[in-house]
């Protein structure tokens, strides 16, 4: 076959493929025309399953809208919001003062749901949940407590025979909101931790190996004996991992659950600052789970596009009211009632060109 004939054969094939793909691409949409309104959001991975549920339910009621959410991480979400490549962001840890100052406009924090960071471990033959005091957790992650049968751990767990093996610590490899919440808690309960390591999304862990993502930590703990790690509650529940009971500020050993997390939020509701940026780790309250946190949606107070802004505030309003009903099934703790009120006020404060959108 001559060269030109073969090349034309190739060209025909190529054009057929291109035509097919482009036609599928342009017709495969489920009816929403190219004139439909599009909102792009991105941020924390923690609330992603819940936000996907919200988007799916909301678009059932409003099929003409296209609202998206990509879980790329809290920090990335904040960055993209500042660069104005997305319409709304999401973050577990509230933005710092420095971050807020460097943003091109004022940013409003709207709390949506609550989550918990749990201590999980892999010990053969131990069926009941272990109990951990705050100092013990800090010392394990500092590397001061090296063996499972250390007297400090056995003191909290009478009647449980712990093995004499070394503790292998697993933490997060990459920067994450989960690490931020966990280290924030450790800094509150251990002066040594606060001085040596501090709080943040990417602390310098004294010991241990890094797993990638909540999933990586889960995987490593699940498949390696004598490990200890920290993950979001949903991961522990879905993977049926053993979960430790943590002693809270009132002295009770609390099992992390939706109710104990909401209790932590309710206990700190009174101290909530005006901009709603707060840390609720080590909360007071007898039933409060000490390693809990809010997760926020971040929007600009002054929206440039009034049409988009209206869709945004309506969606957020729906989220903190109707959306909360989907939270429990997915292991997220819904907002306590007074926090919902404060969040409503925040949503109402969002404007476009000076006029409130709600």
């Amino acid at each position: 076959m001559s060269v030109s004939k073969r090349s034309s054969q190739l060209l025909v094939w190529l054009s057929v493929v291109v035509f097919l793909v482009v036609s599928i691409a342009c017709n495969g949409g489920s009816g929403a025309g190219s004139g439909s309104l599009r909102l792009q959001g991105a941020g924390a991975t923690f609330p992603n399953p819940l936000y996907q549920k919200w988007l799916s339910e909301y678009s059932r009621q409003h099929p003409d809208l296209k609202i998206e959410y990509q879980s790329i991480g809290s920090g990335a979400g904040i960055k993209q919001l500042k660069e104005q490549t997305i319409d709304y962001g999401a973050s577990d840890a509230p933005m710092t003062d420095a971050d807020l100052k460097s943003a091109p406009g004022e940013i409003v924090h709207v709390p949506t749901v609550l989550g918990a960071v749990v201590i999980t471990y892999n010990l053969q033959g131990i069926t009941q949940p272990l109990r951990f005091s705050p100092e013990v957790i800090a010392d394990i992650f500092l590397g001061k407590i090296k063996k499972w049968n250390d007297p400090k751990i056995t003191a909290d767990n009478p009647g449980v025979t712990l093995p004499a093996s070394d503790i292998t610590v697993v933490h997060r490899a990459e920067g994450s909101g989960t690490s931020a919440v966990f280290t924030d808690y450790l800094s509150k309960v251990s002066a040594e931790w606060k001085e040596k390591v501090g709080a943040g999304t990417s602390p310098s862990w004294p010991i241990g190996m890094g797993g990638k993502g909540n999933e990586g930590v889960t995987g490593q703990v699940k498949s390696t004996p004598n490990t200890i790690g920290y993950v979001e509650l949903a991961y522990a529940v879905q993977n049926k991992l053993p979960v430790g009971q943590v002693k809270n500020a009132s002295g009770n050993f609390i099992t992390p659950s939706i109710d104990t997390v909401t209790a932590a939020a309710a206990a700190s509701a009174a101290n909530m600052p005006d901009d709603l940026r707060v840390s609720i780790t080590n909360a007071a309250g007898p039933d409060a789970y000490p390693i809990s946190s809010y997760t926020y949606v971040l929007v600009y107070k002054n929206q440039k596009d009034a049409a988009k802004g209206k869709v945004l505030v309506n969606f957020l309003w729906w989220g903190i009211h109707d959306g909360e009903s989907f939270a429990k099934d997915l292991q997220y703790a819904p907002l306590p009632a007074d926090i919902v009120k404060r969040a409503e006020a925040k949503i109402n404060s969002v404007t476009a060109n000076g006029t409130a959108l709600r």
Binding site: S74, A76, A173, G175, S204, G210, K212, G219, Q220, T224
Partner: protein, 327 residues
Amino acid sequence: MSAVSEKFGAYSTWRRAISPTGNTGDAVFRFLMLLVALLMVGIVLAMVIALASESMLSLRQFGFSFLTSRDWNPVKGEFGALPFLWGTIASSIIALLISVPFSIGIAIFLVEQAPRYIARPVGFLVELLAAIPSVVYGVWGIFVLAPILRNYVEPGLAKWFSWIPLFSGSITGYGLLTGGIILAIMVTPIISAVVRDVLAAVPGSQREAALALGATKWEMIRVVLVNGVPGITGAVILGLGRALGETMAVTMVIGNRPEISLSLFEPSYTIASAIANEFTEATGDLYLSALVELGLILFLVTFVVNGFARLLVWNVTRQTGGVGRAA
């Protein structure tokens, strides 16, 4: 030349410089190719400049000590690249040490020994390894490879060879060795596919000549290999490039601990993993700048290694007198 330019003018001279044959089609063709090549150079230069300018802050702050410091503490603002450099180079070397012999073996088998009906599908299969997403390799590594290493391979190595520092250390299944093995698996399809084509293109006359002189099959294969050394080096460089830059799969099994240890079992950290893990959450200009500087260092490492490889090829082809491709 001056006589020509006098006679035909500046335009002619310029055109002759571009296309010695004087053919217009040639001039256009050569010019276009040159343009594309320069475009690539331009893009790479743009990347290097972008990387360099972003890492200015870190360069000014730490200077040369960045390369020798072992501290990586974002909270305190201390950054040093040595652990990542070690992890990157060590894991890539392990990957190549494992992968190159295997890849060349595979290529030899498929070209010289296997009948067509085996070689074709097996060739497809090996190339398919290149298409598996790295996150899938990573998860497979966590759930299959790491337990195998932790329960069988590493204790076995430790039992017999623990006196070598390479095989001492705590056995968790996540470390340099695991990372190196996964990289080896990811790099093999690239090297073997290219070497396969290189060996296939060696003229049959070389093989016939060797056999006619009484060589055994293996000795004939050696002749073919020597013929293909420049191409094989090119293949290895491609593989090395993949190994140096691989992120997702490595970060899931290497333990991500910025520490230097001679043991293969201990966790480690590569430059690409560090950038991928910490880039999006990097708060603070110095932190970001340090991460970008890591990227710049990786660029330089690739540069240096490529330079070495080129030297090696030039040496070898010089000694063997080059390869005549007259047939």
